[in-house]
């Protein structure tokens, strides 16, 4: 590995944490580059928040080291780690005005009053809430409060920004717009940012890199597109986006047998690992990648299925399809609304589809 020109903004080395007998983190190592936006993504209890709190020094690891810009901060209390943090609950001080909240971290730093005022103005401008400076937090909407919390965290110009599920308490619409706002702000300031979220859509939309976690282990690290298109484990495949899983048996290299049909898949670098013939395996395909109707006619990997149900979901329709054979395996398939109308398919009717070899992912059989 080439020597990096700059040390990582945050480097975790074998972080392990347990609460009593419960192991929250099983030796997590990770590095975050300067200016990068990284999301810790995983279901509740996967250890993502614990990991963030260990970086922040709010929780103490049982073993492992936390490095920031090449400096070991493992034994430093939170106050000496130079980061800003935003919590899901905003944690704004209710008895202080917006301006005093934003200036809270500046007041102890021997900065002049005028200087503080200028900085507070600047930050409130940055989050577009300068006109609210004399209000109390409870007089603002949830989205506004979270922007104030962001301004407060950024006021002392920290080297690192930590976001602990910052959008989870907000309405769907506010969440969408704040997503863009936070991301734009982060780009503009170039501040290294780590965000914890359980919302895969949020992670896909905001992160430079996603760290998918489960049971205290990092399952996969990569850019959103890579995590989505090339999930390294069934867990990642299932957690990020929708995924169909089909139990099959490996045939000759690059093929698998499913309910009497041979299906081809792509092997090689950046794609699937070959599986020895006769071994059980799991085929996976995303609902929107299944080809149906006329387009399926000349394609490879064709299957005849029956439509068990069709659920209208606005821009697309989700079909539940029953595969031939007696194990009752089903596939979920998303079809654009207008395409579905053209198909003329009905619940209970037959539907031919194709599982394109390039879209098929292969995992060792799940127990």
């Amino acid at each position: 590995m080439a020597e990096p020109t700059r040390p990582a903004a945050v480097a975790l080395e074998g972080i392990a944490k347990k609460f009593g007998v419960f192991i929250a983190l099983r030796g997590v190592s990770l590095s975050v580059e300067p200016g990068e936006f990284v999301c810790f993504l995983g279901p509740s209890g996967c250890g993502k928040t614990t990991l963030l709190r260990i970086i922040a020094g709010l929780e103490r690891q049982n073993s492992g080291a936390v490095m920031m810009a090449g400096r070991d901060v493992s034994t430093l209390p939170p106050a000496e780690r130079n980061y800003g943090i935003v919590f899901q609950s905003y944690a704004l001080f209710p008895n202080l005005t917006v301006a005093r909240n934003v200036g809270y971290g500046l007041e102890t730093r021997k900065t002049g009053k005028a200087e503080i005022g200028r900085r507070v103005d600047e930050l409130l401008g940055l989050v577009g809430l300068r006109h609210h400076r004399d209000k109390y937090p409870a007089q603002l909407s949830g989205g506004e409060q979270q922007r104030i919390a962001l301004a407060r965290a950024l006021a002392p110009s920290p080297a690192l920004l930590l976001l602990d599920e910052p959008l989870s308490a907000l309405d769907a619409r506010v969440r969408q717009s704040l997503r863009h706002e936070i991301r734009a702000l982060q780009r503009r300031l170039g501040i290294t940012t780590i965000m914890v979220t359980h919302d895969q859509e949020e992670a896909l939309a905001m992160a430079d890199r996603i760290v998918v976690m489960n049971h205290g282990v990092v399952e996969q690290v990569g850019p959103p597109h890579e995590v989505y298109t090339r999930p390294r484990s069934p867990f990642v495949a299932r957690f990020v986006g929708q995924m169909n899983f089909l139990a099959a048996v490996a045939g000759p290299p690059g093929s698998a047998r499913l309910g009497g049909v041979d299906l081809a898949y792509v092997t090689g670098a950046g794609a699937n690992e070959p599986v020895a013939a006769g071994q059980p395996l799991t085929l996976a395909i995303r609902p929107e990648e299944i080809v149906v109707g006329p387009a399926a006619r000349g394609a490879r990997n064709r299957l005849a299925t029956r439509i068990r149900s069709a659920q209208f979901l606005g821009s697309f329709t989700r079909l539940v399809l029953v595969l031939p054979g007696d194990d009752g395996a089903v596939l979920e398939c998303d079809v654009a609304a207008n395409a579905f109308a053209e198909l003329g398919a009905k619940e209970g009717g037959e539907l031919e589809l194709a599982l394109r070899p390039e879209a098929l992912r292969v995992f060792a059989a799940e127990r």
Partner: protein, 578 residues
């Protein structure tokens, strides 16, 4: 999978990585150590001393459980145990039953004058426990007006009188708890019961009662503990009917038999501690009935029910008002009930040296309010926010005092602070020891109130401050204290009022020069100067009511100051919009 887990678990060290010890940690640990030292010195050590003392004879020789054998073996003294239990259980049943009706009328009917009824029910809080007993003696005693007018002596001295006096003494505490329990309900439950066709009695049994069962249990324990540890009422009206609290007083003050006093004290600790433990176990099972989506219950008008409620509450309110009217009149006439001409001569307090006890009481009550509030609030903060291994034990110690009867605490302080050769001796005979014994005696409620208000605050406040490089004590002062101001004012009020009226915690600790008003009431009654005792009671009640009014004013100020950030949105702020 489990195997791997066990292996990995063993590979991860149990100790966490330690953070460097900083300036803030020094402050944090100093607070923990300071709080621990206070609790040790004024709770743990005195309690250990009193238990130890009960195992010695009067010359300090170890005699094991011989004192207990003598206590249980002497029928005259042992009777105090069953007497105490009898009186406490009967008072408990009567008080809670009466208070439930009263609280129900206040919360679940549309009867008129609710505010007035509420205020009247709270009156006994402002009086020492003796006062209720005085009033019953003035009316039903051998020379009471009822007795003289009808020639009928109801035999008020004894269990009967104690129970009457205690019922009215404990009434406000039970009412307060039950009002809180009855208010915490969800109107939707009643809507559901009605749509399912449940009758009123059935709704009462299946919705109302289950909803308030924890409140009922709590009220029972509070009344039971208060009665069994009360000393004032039995002293005044108990006659020859001996209860454990008066027994301790007789052994210590009458016969100077400190070891027997200690023995009875330890025995008296048992039911109080038991009540405390059972209450805690039951309350732990409590669940939240009211959630964010609950709808408040607004009682419907029902002329019949409202009328019954008004009559019921009117009767009880009349008795309570009557009690204090009798006391007021008795203090203002030449000689109740023979010469009812008005005079102020009883307000001279010549037998106890004038107004010194009253000024002492004010002094002690003010200091109790200040010291008690600071100590309970900082203590609650230490336990709640400076999470250390000490938090658990400190919490237990802090809530223990509620189950220590005042007389037991006072006697324990004698053993601790009046021991020959002890450096702590200088403390004895000062007003300071009275302040401390009051603070500890009433510690639990203040501490729990402070804890509750701290728990309501976002746990991340301290974390945010740390990330901004602001020390925790600065955030404590700038955010925590201002936010908790309503609770802080309420706690100081609680300490002040109780310090004004308490007798049991201070009766053994007053010394020449540090007499207190409530003790003076007892002494004047003992000396036969009941009119002066009544006059002093009137002044104590008057001061309590006055301070309560000040408190209302202060609370209004606090609310006005804080409403901008509590009930926001509705409050327009000048210059807010561009």
């Amino acid at each position: 999978m489990a195997m791997i887990d066990a292996d990995l678990g063993a590979a991860i060290p149990d100790r966490t990585v330690h953070h460097r010890f900083g300036k803030e940690d020094v402050v944090r640990w100093a607070l923990v150590a300071g709080f621990a030292a206070v609790l040790y010195l004024f709770i743990l050590l005195p309690m250990a001393k009193i238990v130890w003392r009960s195992l010695l004879d009067n010359d300090g020789r170890w005699i094991g459980l011989a004192n207990y054998a003598r206590y249980f073996g002497t029928p005259a003294i042992a009777a105090s145990i069953t007497n105490s239990l009898f009186v406490a259980l009967l008072s408990m049943a009567l008080t809670v039953a009466l208070a439930f009706g009263y609280a129900y009328a206040l919360t679940r009917t549309q009867m008129p004058a609710k505010g007035l009824f509420r205020v009247i029910a709270m009156l006994p809080i402002f009086a020492p426990s003796l006062v209720q007993a005085f009033a019953f003696v003035y009316v039903f005693g051998n020379n009471g007006i009822f007795t003289r007018a009808t020639g009928l002596n109801v035999g008020i001295y004894g269990a009967k009188g104690i129970v009457f006096a205690e019922v009215f003494y404990c009434f406000p505490h039970a009412v307060l708890i039950l009002i809180a329990a009855l208010s915490a309900t969800d109107a939707r439950l009643y809507d559901a019961a009605r749509t399912l066709g449940a009758s009123s009695p059935k709704t009462f049994l299946t919705v109302t009662l289950p909803g308030v069962k924890f409140g009922l249990v709590s009220a029972c324990f509070v009344v039971f503990t208060t009665v069994i540890t009360d000393f004032g009422a039995p002293k005044v009206i108990g006659g020859k009917f001996s209860v454990m609290a008066t027994e301790i007083y007789n052994q210590v003050s009458g016969q100077q038999n400190f070891t027997m006093g200690a023995t009875v004290s330890v025995v008296l600790l048992v039911p109080a501690l038991l009540a405390f433990v059972v209450d805690r176990i039951i309350q732990r099972r409590q669940y939240a009935l009211v959630t964010a989506s609950s709808k408040p219950l607004i009682p419907a008008r029902a002329p019949l029910a409202d009328g019954v409620a008004t009559v019921y509450c009117g009767l009880i309110a009349a008795v309570i008002t009557g009690i204090y009217t009798v006391i007021l009149i008795a203090s203002l006439v030449h000689r109740w009930p023979y010469n009812m001409g008005l005079t102020l001569k009883h307000y001279a307090f010549d037998t106890v040296g004038g107004y010194t006890p009253l000024w002492n009481s004010l002094h002690v009550a003010l200091w109790t309010a200040v010291v008690g509030t600071v100590l309970t609030f900082v203590g609650a903060y230490v336990v709640e926010k400076c999470r250390t291994a000490a938090s658990g034990p400190l919490y237990l110690l802090a809530i223990l005092p509620v189950s220590i009867p005042g007389m037991v605490l006072g006697l324990a302080y004698i053993f601790t602070f009046n021991a020959p050769g002890s450096p702590l001796n200088r403390f004895y005979g000062t007003l300071a020891i009275l302040v401390v014994s009051n603070v500890i005696h009433y510690f639990t409620v203040g501490f729990l109130t402070a804890t509750a208000s701290l728990k309501q605050m976002d746990a991340e406040f301290e974390n945010v401050s740390a990330s901004l490089g602001v020390p925790f004590y600065r955030t404590f002062w700038r955010v925590t204290v201002p936010m908790a101001l309503p609770s802080i004012v309420a706690i100081s009020m609680y300490f002040f009022l109780n310090a004004m009226v308490t007798l049991s915690a201070v009766v053994f600790l007053v010394a020449p020069g540090t007499e207190l008003a409530a003790v003076a009431v007892l002494l004047m009654d003992d000396a036969g100067d009941t009119a002066q005792a009544a006059a002093m009671s009137v002044l104590i009640i008057g001061i309590g009511l006055g301070v309560r009014l000040l408190y209302w004013g202060a609370m209004k100020g606090v609310t006005r100051r804080t409403q901008a950030w509590t009930q926001a949105g509705a409050v327009p702020v000048a210059g807010g919009q561009p």
